[in-house]
Amino acid sequence: MGGKSVNFEGCIALQIQKIDLKIKTPNKIRQSLTEIGELSYFAGRFFKEALRPPFEFNEFLRQCYHIGYRSLTLVLVTGFIIGLVLDLQSRPTMIQFGAVLWMPNMVGISIVRELGPVITALVCAGRISSGIGAELGSMRVTEQIDAMEVSGTNPFKYLVVTRVMASILMLPLLVVVSDAVSLFGSALIENIQGNVSFQLYFNTIFDALSYTDLIPALIKTFFFGFAIGLVGCFKGYYSKKGTAGVGVAANTAVVMTSLLLFVIDFVAVFISNIFFDV
């Protein structure tokens, strides 16, 4: 009897808590919190599955090709244009302040520390995250993921782990390429408008840069890669049924990844300011 009354009281307490939650938290907030919880669980499962054999090495290499090599043209073009535009926009102001000699330092540091990683990550979020979201979403809708599951394959390991790992590995490489091309773009403008030789321009940039600029910027790109792969996979893997579900998965993957990239960037800058004294 006592046990029953405890259960009954427990039920009531739970109901009150539910009502309380219903009153205090609007739907959208509750949905967002639920989604954050689900994404965290998904991330936890990724680490668990990534460390357990068998490893899908061939699929991982295939994804490195798709995520890395196939994004190269986009990254090269955007990186080059960022370099050109940054130099063209900054040059008149620097001349006004008589600081045109500091152009390489300003451009080098801003590209390596911030613009290169963030813009490359945003561009990749648009291409990679939405691509993964749409691909896995359509696989979910057409029951291909279920077919993998019933054939005894772990679809999480085959589809999610390989894509997230490839994204983690490829994004830093893409950022390095993007930085190099951006710097070349700005050097080109300096060479044409300021008559500065390429050698002098790059020597000045490398003198201005230190490891405290390079290392934190490079470390955060691994986290950017993780976010891009993880959110794309999360949205696609749990895509709702129907073609509309695939569209929503691709769209929300980009939105959520972009938001997450800025949060990671803020945290990374905050931490690197503490540890690297920049």
């Binding site: 696989m139 057409t142 029951e143 291909q144 054939s151």
Partner: protein
């Protein structure tokens, strides 16, 4: 000769009533909507059991619970003597190699060729096949069983709906399953292709000696292929028996299934 032997073994097993799938008191709800409300069934070795029901009656949910794709709210499911709920992931995966599943929409991996589609489940079950250096003979054998050996290097998008369904069937066969689950095998196909698929299902059963659980609302398919039928209405077994018996029923709910 081998086919005749398979037929004899199947007839013998059916007579002995060796149960290979058992479901008891299966319940599944989505929110307030009850889909399965105490469903139960048994599939005997060598038998073709057809489960018929209207769209949304819970047929696909039941079959997905059977292979662990969905968790029931409560109930007992046993396949080849293994209670699904108690199996860990690895044991379930090994058991799944004995269960072929033909999906309603074929579910071929569209980024892979036909050959890769068929090879994909094989490399997951090395315990069954060992280290195979050349998978071509096995792939060709499965493709020949469905009459599509020439499509080996094609992509799924290059195949018609009927061909995709056949390739999906070949993919389930390659693991040499003991049971094949068909989820609406003829849905979305024209009548001629549907007949071809039904004929193929019969031939496969004779050639490989498999047992089949067929989920459908296609009366022709049920008539041709079923040894026994279950009519699923409101989440329960509304009626059970042979096609010839059920078709004579005067119950309006049963009549509704067979009305042309």
């Amino acid at each position: 000769m081998k086919n005749q032997k398979n037929i004899d073994v199947m007839e013998q097993a059916k007579d002995q009533k060796e149960v290979i799938i058992e479901i008891k008191d299966l319940y599944k709800s989505f929110g307030d909507h009850k889909v399965l409300d105490g469903f139960h069934m048994e599939l005997y070795k060598g038998e073709n059991l057809v489960v018929m029901g209207k769209s949304g009656s819970g047929k696909s949910v039941m079959i997905k619970c059977l292979v662990g794709l969905m968790q029931p709210d409560s109930g007992y499911i046993s396949v080849l003597g293994n209670e699904i709920k108690k199996l860990d992931r690895e044991t379930l995966d090994v058991l799944r190699s004995d269960i072929g599943f033909l999906f309603q929409g074929s579910a071929l991996y569209d980024s892979m060729t036909v050959r890769e589609n068929l090879e994909f489940p094989m490399r997951r079950h090395k315990e069954k096949f060992g280290e195979i250096k050349d998978t071509t003979p096995l792939v060709m054998d499965a493709l020949e069983s469905v009459g599509l050996a020439s499509t080996i290097d094609l992509m799924p998008e290059e195949l018609s709906g009927g061909m995709q369904r056949r390739i999906a069937l070949a993919r389930t066969l390659i693991l040499q399953p003991k049971i094949i689950l068909y989820d609406e095998p003829t849905t979305g196909l024209d009548p001629i292709t549907s007949k071809e698929i039904i004929e193929l299902m019969r031939n496969i059963q004779i050639k490989y000696g498999t047992s089949s659980l067929i989920i459908t609302h296609d009366v022709d398919c049920a008539r041709v292929i079923s040894d026994r039928m279950i009519l699923l209405v409101d989440g329960i077994n509304y009626a059970e028996g042979k096609y010839t018996d059920l078709i004579q029923s005067n119950d309006p709910k049963i009549e509704a299934f067979f009305k042309k």
